[in-house]
Symmetry: C2
Subunit: 332 residues, 2 copies
């Protein structure tokens, strides 16, 4: 097995975030459940956008955020995802490449426009995402470059990929290639609603095709259909080689074989916008993993990155994570 060229390769829905501040009352009026990711069609996206306040646009996409985060720690990342050749597609491509990430997926020349997620941030900093998948539905197995996948130490897949049908096939193909190349496969469950939609498929993956699993409390409890976090943690340890479970202000729990590590959260002055918290946890954890750090240190790198991202608007780092890691004695 040759030396990997990339630490982490991510595959996901390539999305530009459109972020607006809003009120709880607005969510109630539009019948939107607070806190998760909801899929909407183009007409719904336009109607909702028309009713929201001033916005800012920042490149997003869960796995894309994670890979940019890995790069911010000093790691080498690659990304696979589908945008259209339009203004937002150019913005997305520019930003991920400016983050030092290898991104070579062909742009769609026709069909739906680049995906956007209308992210409504309430005064408590919680974000509610309303995503129009647009061009993401055209990501398919032909976009999977076997050499690129085989070049990465870890292939990181977002559960959201199971929403567009062809992307699910691309997901399976990438996981197969990575495993055959002797690399690691990692999955994030993405969102409790996403687990509801695809529980059987995710269960099958966790039991046999995934080496490193990421989930938050709600997601792992939904996967195992239990109402106790500790029970879910016991169950996942039996199914999966390594799982990193995040619990917001309670930090994270890392389970692997008979090893369990509890890592407290890094306190922040004010939670401005929780968008990207899970993505950046995965970035820190995976960066540590590719540097062969112990599991507790991986967890500490994860919560550190999450603490940076929730202290400002948007899901991309403002302070280089490598600097943060040095300041916290987690890197030299």
């Amino acid at each position: 097995m040759s030396e990997p060229r990339h630490h982490v390769l991510g595959i996901g829905n390539a999305i530009v975030d459109v972020i607006s501040r809003t009120t709880d009352e607005f969510l109630t009026r539009h019948d939107i459940a607070k806190g998760g990711m909801h899929l909407i069609d183009e007409a719904q996206a336009e109607a909702l956008y028309a009713d929201t306040g001033p916005s800012i646009e920042i490149s997003g996409g869960s796995a894309a955020n994670t890979i940019v985060g890995v790069g911010s720690f000093g790691g080498s990342g690659a990304y696979v995802g589908k945008v259209k050749n339009d203004t937002l597609g150019s913005v997305f491509s520019h930003d991920i490449r400016a983050g030092g990430v290898t991104f070579e997926t062909a742009m769609a020349e026709d069909g739906p426009s680049t995906a956007r997620s209308l992210i409504l941030v309430t005064p408590d900093g919680e974000r509610t995402m309303n995503t129009y998948l647009g061009a993401c539905v055209h990501l398919g197995p032909s976009d999977i470059d076997a050499d690129l996948i085989a070049s990465a130490q870890v292939t990181y897949l977002e559960g959201y990929l199971w929403d567009p049908e062809e992307a699910k096939q691309a997901f399976r193909e990438a996981a197969r290639i990575a495993r055959e190349a002797g690399r690691k496969v990692s999955l994030t469950l993405s969102d409790p609603f996403c687990v509801e939609r695809h529980r059987d498929g995710f269960m099958e993956l966790v039991k046999g095709n995934v080496d490193i699993l990421f989930a938050n409390e709600a997601e792992i409890m939904s996967l195992y259909q239990v109402d106790d976090f500790d029970e879910a943690a016991v169950r996942v340890k039996q199914d999966c080689e390594l799982a990193a479970l995040t619990r917001s202000e309670k930090g994270c729990v890392v389970v692997s074989g008979d090893h369990t590590a509890h890592v407290p959260a890094v306190p922040v002055d004010k939670v401005v916008d929780t968008t990207g918290a899970g993505d950046m946890f995965a970035a820190g954890f995976l960066y540590g993993y590719t540097q062969a750090r112990d599991l507790e240190t991986c967890g500490r790198l994860g919560v550190l990155a999450a603490s940076e991202i929730i202290s400002h608007v948007g899901a991309r780092p403002e302070t280089p994570f490598a600097d943060l890691a040095r300041q916290h004695g987690l890197a030299s």
Copy 2:
């Protein structure tokens, strides 16, 4: 004269800001003078964008920011400016209307795309703007709706309008209509480089066609070609009914006839991004003016709004100015 329907109507170059963090070294390497607004063509815009880091997109435009600021204080605003019917044009239109502003200028259906300003923010919070005017060159006299102009207590014009040739004609037409309707005409000198480009024209306006002038220290000294601020302040008092001169961390000086008011700046914890500081000063000052507040209070409302805008990224308010004014005892 009928009761005005709008407190302030702004006319300006309608621009989407593309904001990136950068270093002083980057500016030197690209031979960009720090701190002002530089006009670039489409090819330069593309070359510069390709070399900058990750960006966020926020609606901007100097006079547009000011009118949104007036709205944030609780005033009624209208705006005239030209975007194209493209993605960024839709974003601009959405954001300004979401700010409660009347915006009815017809979108360009062909020709150059919506204007963008690549704003490079250095670690000291200073912003350097590189603007591609795009569709702004198509704003012309036919976009000036006489009834709308006559409906506004103050028509506020940005000096930047003198860069695109047709927009200058629109500017003159709007000023003529406002004066004939017995309304007030206000001008901001916009930028020292802009004053260099159009000094004779601006001088003529200041001496005879403008009631309320906004300028910062560098701009007013450039207008009168003097190297002493106090001398410039004496000169402008002879030429103009009312002038509000801003001096960054030294606050502002308001001169009118034999009245001079000095207003200190509102301290901020950390200057994150100075984009929009002058625009928001004008918003606070003009809002106070339309409420018949005394000149010192107008100045205090100006520096308060500027202090909010420099404490975060982007030139649109994050905290409603009406709330800030109440917290500072400047509104009930």
